[in-house]
């Protein structure tokens, strides 16, 4: 489609999209810029889009003490182990649903779909994890409740259903069992969708703070978002950080630096992840 002149609506669109772009980019820039600005500067002159004086106090505090490393370890553990388990469990279930086995696939679909509509709520979950499973202060108290997201099951089912049926038929004729077909044919053929679903889970685990807030009391086991939340709501956590000789703890600058540190990995993985995410959402949107 070629056009000679710009129509008013196209101009409006360019302006609109540019504004949205700035609205989404500037806050992050402010965080990063602020994290390099000294506490006193932040308190007196407020924010500027570029740090007036380059100050690394907060980053020094973060990287010299064990507290933030602990939090990083917790977040990485929860994300890596959680994503691996979630992917394995989701793939297994999705495969059985995708195979359209009479008497099995349909009931399983309803079984997995129902929790999206009706849930026991917070109290029974809380009692289950703390009173019956005794998972408090274990990283698994964050991992297990988030293990399967029904939405992602349906994304994966529709992806599995796009694989050519004939391959499985011929494998069956060659004497392969269901497990063998799954592990040696379906999974290797589904790497792109596994990447999509894995990314969704990974972001979910990396950002979770609610399960951690509910079930983790031990500050040494806090994942990053919970450390951040603690820095917002009370300053007790700063006591765990190594004190620098100079002055009082730069609480505010510290928050910004820690925020920058916690979005760092997402920022790095983003160019790669975003492409797959778009694929995942559009697959999910075209109904399971």
């Amino acid at each position: 489609m070629s056009r000679k002149k710009l129509e008013p609506f196209t101009v409006v669109s360019i302006v609109g999209v540019s504004l949205a772009l700035l609205a989404c980019a500037i806050p992050f820039w402010m965080i990063i810029s602020g994290s390099f600005t000294s506490e006193s500067q932040l308190a007196t002159t407020g924010y500027s889009l570029f740090p007036v004086s380059f100050d690394l106090t907060a980053y020094k505090m973060i990287f010299t003490g064990p507290a933030v490393l602990d939090a990083y370890f917790a977040s990485v553990f929860i994300t890596v182990v959680g994503t691996a388990l979630s992917l394995a469990v989701t793939s297994g279930l999705s495969w059985v649903i995708a195979r359209r086995l009479p008497g099995i696939s349909r009931p399983l679909t309803v079984f997995a779909y129902l929790p999206m509509l009706f849930s026991g709520g917070l109290v029974p979950l809380y009692l289950l994890v703390t009173q019956y499973l005794n998972l408090q202060n274990s990283y698994f108290s964050v991992i297990l409740p988030l293990l399967v997201m029904p939405f992602l099951v349906f994304v994966q089912v529709s992806a599995f259903r796009q694989l050519p049926e004939s391959i499985f038929e011929s494998a069956k004729i060659d004497g392969a069992g269901e497990l063998r077909i799954f592990f040696t044919i379906a999974i290797p053929l589904s790497k792109p969708i596994l990447a999509v679903v894995g990314l969704f889970y990974a972001v979910h685990y990396w950002n979770d703070w609610f399960m951690a807030l509910l079930f983790i009391d031990d500050v040494h086991k806090f994942p990053l978002p919970l450390v951040l939340q603690n820095l917002i709501s009370n300053i007790s956590f700063t006591q765990m950080l190594p004190q620098l000789a100079e002055a009082a703890t730069p609480v505010y600058q510290l928050r910004l630096a820690l925020t920058a540190v916690s979005i760092g990995p997402i920022l790095l993985a983003y160019p790669f992840a975003q492409r797959y995410f778009v694929k995942g959402i559009t697959l999910g949107a075209t109904k399971g």
Binding site: T10, L21, V89, M116, P225, I232, Y270
Partner: protein, 298 residues
Amino acid sequence: MSWSIGLLALPAVVFFLVFNYLPMAGLVVAFKQFDVNLGIFGSPWNGLENFAYFLESGDAARILFNTLFLNVLFLGATLAAGMILAIMLNEIRSTFFKRVSQSVVFFPYFVSPVVISIILQVLLAGASGGGGAVNDALGGLGFPTVDWYTEPGPWPWILTVVKVWQLGGYLSVIFLAAITGIPEEVYEAGMIDGASRAQMAWRITLPLLKPTAAVLLVLGVGRIFYGDFGTIYAIVGDNGTLFDSTDVIDTYVFRALRQLGDFGTTAAVGLFQSVVGFILVLIAVLIQRKYSKETSIL
């Protein structure tokens, strides 16, 4: 048929049983006078007392109103924003600019609510508490500054802006995919009839996006009784001065659970939430089915 295929689904089935279906049975706590030492099933029954306590507490009306009001705002605003953004993105011919803006507006979806909360503090409070970028701007333009974190009034709108910011880009991807599915001939016919770009967006694209919006709406209505706890609690926390306009069922339940340890009442509130939510989904699905059968999700 081979039994071995069952093994593949087994872990997921166990997960759903333990973490979804067992808690449903645990809802009997709502009808009990819960005692930690006696456990869920050992505690004595107390009928509907937990429900009565909640309804008579004076909090019920406020949190029910807030929950519905905020969710309707969020749902309407995010869907509208996603749709408008997608239509605008679709107008842009420069692939580079389009790709960059799409990536950037999608990014907020990837950050934790806690990060959003910090960003809000930067904008609304600043390091000194009464400052922040928004107040700097207001002051610069000669308007009075606002002590945002003590004013409950503007918060429904602030939270709506947050939700739009967080989800607008995400939803625009879904709508953009739907726009891609619209056959090119429809636009060519419009062009022959002399339609402007604006008229084509308004008369062709927008109506054809309705089924997608309907599906998202039904999914959203299903969640309407859940207050998006993660975001609201990360932002408001235990700041009681804002509860008037921000306290929703989920934050209420969490606070009651954490601070009062009143399991019976909070479970009663949770049960109420689940039942009403379930009824709302059913109604939404039935309505949607009536109007467009082919896009129905059930």
